[in-house]
Symmetry: C2
Subunit: 352 residues, 2 copies
């Protein structure tokens, strides 16, 4: 019925997120060895990326549903107790996985977002919690607008957009760049994170783009060209666009964070990342970490208390300097009261 070339396999990729202190983290593992010798017999450079998302195969025989499959191998491999779990997206682009080129099956990959509490168990040695902004540095605006976004990325993206010889393409790219990177005085939307990563990839400004280009070239494909920007400037920008990941894992990561940022607006997901009791300031810090933007402290407190999203436990936090903060907990009953309880994604301050 299905020949060799129709072989399919389904993989489940998890973006497992936690926040420790003010650092949003994602669990990474060492990637499987993907290196295929190129035509000259050398092992390609792109095989060396040290970060991958945890991955497990979907086994129809064992797994009743996709989510159960995911939970099952995450549990086996990490022992983490996943809280909120959410399916993100299914990727099946040809040659997503270079092993396909060597005759492997078409790998369909289903991305998942999973949240765990800070006080989560140990980590084993094969995995590592990384600051997610190491992979997406342009998304952290907590210390203000990152200057090199304005100075390097944005100008390059514009040049890329305008470098196309096709009128229609130029217009389309210009529109997308403008929206994603907030050009014409528009506001930077923290949620439009995936589009930004995809544009950077298309323009050849992230390491994976270069990797895939080289791979295609070494295989003698003509599709390996990245139009527009000079090689040297691309490499220069790549040095600033953060760590690469294996395969398309950084795209999956971007999808996850976009979803998470978006969801903050209308669903009380933050509380999945916090311990039972927390101070309002802690809550604020976690949201800022996720949103990559700072919040006005007083307004933030007004928001969460007015909307009755939290309630005081009666306890207070000891230890720190300054006036001790009251402890709060999530008020589950908001779910019964408000249609879409969430905490808004702040637009990062524009230095006008």
């Amino acid at each position: 019925m299905a020949g060799r070339a129709d072989a399919l396999s389904i993989g489940l990729n998890a973006v497992i997120v936690a926040v420790t202190g003010e650092v949003p983290r994602v669990l990474t593992v060492e990637p499987p060895k993907l290196a295929l010798p190129d035509q000259a017999g050398r092992t390609a450079k792109w095989a060396e990326t040290p970060y991958a998302l945890p991955f497990g195969p979907f086994e129809p025989r064992r797994h009743r549903t996709l989510e159960l499959g995911l939970r099952s191998w995450v549990d086996e491999q990490t022992g983490l107790a996943l809280g909120h779990v959410e399916q993100l997206y299914t990727y099946a682009d040809r040659n997503r996985d270079p092993r396909e080129l060597a005759g492997g099956p078409r790998v369909v990959s289903i991305g998942y977002l999973a949240l765990v509490r800070e006080d989560a168990p140990q980590e084993d040695t094969k995995s590592e919690w990384c600051d997610w902004y190491d992979f997406l540095p342009w998304e952290d605006w907590r210390a203000g607008r990152p200057p090199w976004v304005d100075e390097v990325i944005r100008p390059l993206m514009w040049r890329w957009a305008e470098s196309s010889s096709d009128e229609e393409t130029r217009r389309g790219r210009g529109e997308r760049v403008s929206i994603a990177f907030a050009n014409n005085g528009a506001a930077w939307d923290p949620v439009r994170l995936l589009e930004r990563y995809e544009l950077l990839y298309e323009a050849g400004l992230v390491a994976e783009a270069e990797r895939d280009r080289l791979l295609a070239k070494s295989r003698g494909r003509t599709g390996g060209r990245i139009g527009g920007l000079p090689h040297a400037e691309r490499l220069n920008a790549i040095a600033a666009t953060g760590r690469p990941m294996s395969l398309d894992h950084r795209r999956i990561l971007a999808t996850a964070l976009e979803r998470l940022r978006g969801k903050l607006n209308y669903r009380p997901v933050v509380f999945e990342l916090l311990p039972e009791d927390f101070t309002l300031f802690r809550l604020q810090r976690v949201i800022e970490a996720l949103a990559g933007a700072e919040l006005h402290k007083q307004n933030f407190r007004r928001l969460v208390t007015n909307t009755r999203l939290v309630e005081a436990t009666g306890g207070r936090e000891s230890g720190g300097r300054g006036r001790p903060a009251k402890l709060y907990r999530f008020r589950r009953d908001v779910l019964l009261e408000r249609p879409a309880p969430g905490i808004g994604m702040p637009a990062p301050k524009q230095p006008d």
Copy 2:
């Protein structure tokens, strides 16, 4: 490598949406024959559902990406020019497809939402545009709160929630029902459409639940029980919860509409359903059709004009009764100006 039981196949299901006049429509086809004789040799009743979503297999050999695969067979089968296309969700529950029970492969199904303009081409004879509220009648609040939601569905859902013998389950169900069906004076959230369908399914108040229960029973499974509500009342409610669809297609439909309703808020997707030029009132009607709720006319106009989402073409609409309306078109430039341009989902008016 993979035994028989590990066989996999991937299907692409499309929810193709258009709005004609004030009627939101979805393209349906006649389902494939799924009937399996039960143990007594009879053909099960659930095989008779006349509506299915258009479906096509994903063929790794032919299709470079999932979306291209979808577009390709939709084009072949219907000739429709799809506008906006968006992946929804991937379903792989065991026994989703009863053919699996007869030794077929595990069918993984990827749902897509696609929008087409009203002035779309012909339809062929094998497909039919149906009012989507025929499948989800409780979601249409344009003529006010549907009385039987209050009188039939809600009380039954509460009884179901409280019928569990397990304290924890009761609490969980109560919360979900309360949120989804807006019980304690909470507002009915038009977007929470999928959760409502899923709850109705779990409570056995949609035809598919009964169908699956009978199927499981005929196969001698014990999982076929639906706890809580008496059979007669369930059947009574089922008569009011709209037309069933093949397999889990109604769930996919619900996913699609939830996504579409949600997206209206922050992305100008409506315009994918409208012709180039339209009157504001037409735009309003389309949004009302999607949202299943009525809008305040004056405020609506203020919103779309103030936010500069549309611009006057200069033309006017001839023909109708009353003062002729100006024609407008979508102002693509909003995309450059505003971070998340959309038209809000109205909360349907609550009586009193």
